[in-house]
């Protein structure tokens, strides 16, 4: 365990987070870009991400999920329909571009030269940065018509964007999320979530990190959001697998297990084989967060990681 880890008990969470971030920069694991939450990754970091990615596949392969590879952007009209702005307006990132003429360009350059705000003329494009890997999936599935009797299962991974700049290395603005998404009857999707609650704990336990699973809620916005968050907790719709990274008291959510009931099925009009509204559930893996938890608990030199952990990750 690193020096910073053993010091967490006596330092505040914020300084513990900054200390870990500085350590990652110093050791060349991550690279500073000047923006909190936007970092370059070293080969060592990516090697851990890829090894963890393969580990997920080993646990999930038996279910024969259909992989779909989406870019890290989604259609703005579909994003608008998704209701994301109702629940998380503070996190969304929209893509804007310059669409003016030559005179507008001259104004823009003058503003840039003068160090003024030049972004006023930027206009929204048809693309919004993907906030969670599964967002582009539901409208895609809806287009395929009613589900087969067994429902469907998808395997997704995407860079995601959430506007929450922070010195906490585990709270990046651009990060990768892998997800298995189950779409089917309430029984099918709940069974899927139960399976992954077990599998997730077994999988992470094999990596030699302390963990616990706890009830959770999403960071819904405002007073309406408070109610959604309370409802989510009261009905047990979200669980997280937590690993202490820079704080024992506030461990980091590394995996999440979500049951959306018929929210997406009804929003996107996805019928089951018998015409009922489909239910959905997903298990999400925070790729960077898992890597950061491993570096924290086993050190920044992967060659020195416990043999059993190296065996699980690299064979």
């Amino acid at each position: 365990m690193s020096v910073a880890a053993s010091a967490t008990a006596s330092t505040s969470p914020v300084s513990a987070q900054e200390a870990y971030l500085d350590e990652l920069f110093d050791k060349g694991i991550l690279f500073d870009t000047g923006v909190d939450g936007l970092y370059g990754r070293s080969d060592v970091f990516e090697d851990v991400i890829q090894a963890f990615d393969r580990l997920i596949t080993r646990y999930g392969a038996q279910d024969r999920a259909t992989p779909i590879h989406f870019p890290p952007g989604i259609s703005r009209p579909l994003f608008e329909k998704s209701g994301y702005m109702k629940s998380f307006p503070q996190l969304a990132g929209t893509v804007h571009s310059f669409m003016g003429g030559e005179a507008d360009h001259c104004t823009l350059l003058a503003e840039l030269e003068a160090g003024q705000d030049w972004t006023g003329q930027q206009t929204a494009t048809d693309i919004v940065l993907t906030p969670a890997a599964c967002y582009p999936l539901y409208p895609t599935v809806a287009k395929r018509g009613p589900l087969p009797v067994d429902g469907r299962l998808y395997d997704l991974q995407s860079y995601c964007f959430r506007h929450e700049p922070s010195k906490d290395p585990a709270r990046m603005q651009m990060f990768r999320m892998r997800e298995y998404v189950r779409i089917g009857s309430p029984e099918q999707v709940q069974a899927f979530r139960e399976t992954w609650l077990e599998r997730g704990q077994a999988m992470m336990g094999s990596l030699g990190v302390p963990l616990k699973v706890d009830l959770a809620n999403d960071p819904f916005f405002g007073r309406a959001g408070r109610m959604l968050a309370n409802n989510q907790r009261d009905t047990g719709l979200k669980f997280e697998l937590l690993i202490p990274v820079t704080s024992e008291e506030k461990p980091t959510a590394c995996l999440s297990f979500n049951y959306h009931q018929d929210h997406f099925g009804s929003l996107w009009n996805i019928p089951t084989h018998n015409g009922d509204v489909a239910h959905t559930a997903c298990v999400g893996f925070g790729m960077e967060r898992v890597a950061l938890a491993l570096f924290k608990h086993h050190g920044t030199d992967t060659a020195q990681w416990p043999q059993a952990v190296r065996q699980v990750l690299w064979g």
């Binding site: 209701g83 109702k86 007073r223 309406a224 408070r226 109610m227 959604l228 309370n230 409802n231 989510q232 009261d234 009905t235 009931q261 018929d262 929210h263």
Partner: protein, 81 residues
């Protein structure tokens, strides 16, 4: 107040049944009140009764039945008066 609550339920809660067919004690969540619809219901009740539900009341229990809603509104309007 009871009729007004039932009207608001019909307008905002998107239940598969009319509020008139529900007893005061009927479980609204079982009757099909979703989490997102309960937010719409909460905001409409605040407008109609000129109240603001405090944070500790923003949960499923407050909106579990017509009677529960009636009790919550009574409590808030009494406090205001």
């Amino acid at each position: 107040m009871n009729d007004k609550i039932r009207d608001i339920l019909d307008q905002t809660a998107k239940l598969p049944v009319k509020a008139a067919t529900l007893s005061d004690d009927a479980d609204l969540h079982e009757a099909g009140l979703t989490s997102f619809a309960s937010v719409q219901l909460m905001l409409a009740l605040e407008d109609a009764f000129d109240i603001e539900f405090p944070e500790q009341m923003l949960n499923r229990r407050t909106f579990a039945s017509i009677k529960a809603i009636q009790n919550a509104i009574a409590e808030l309007t009494q406090t205001a008066a």
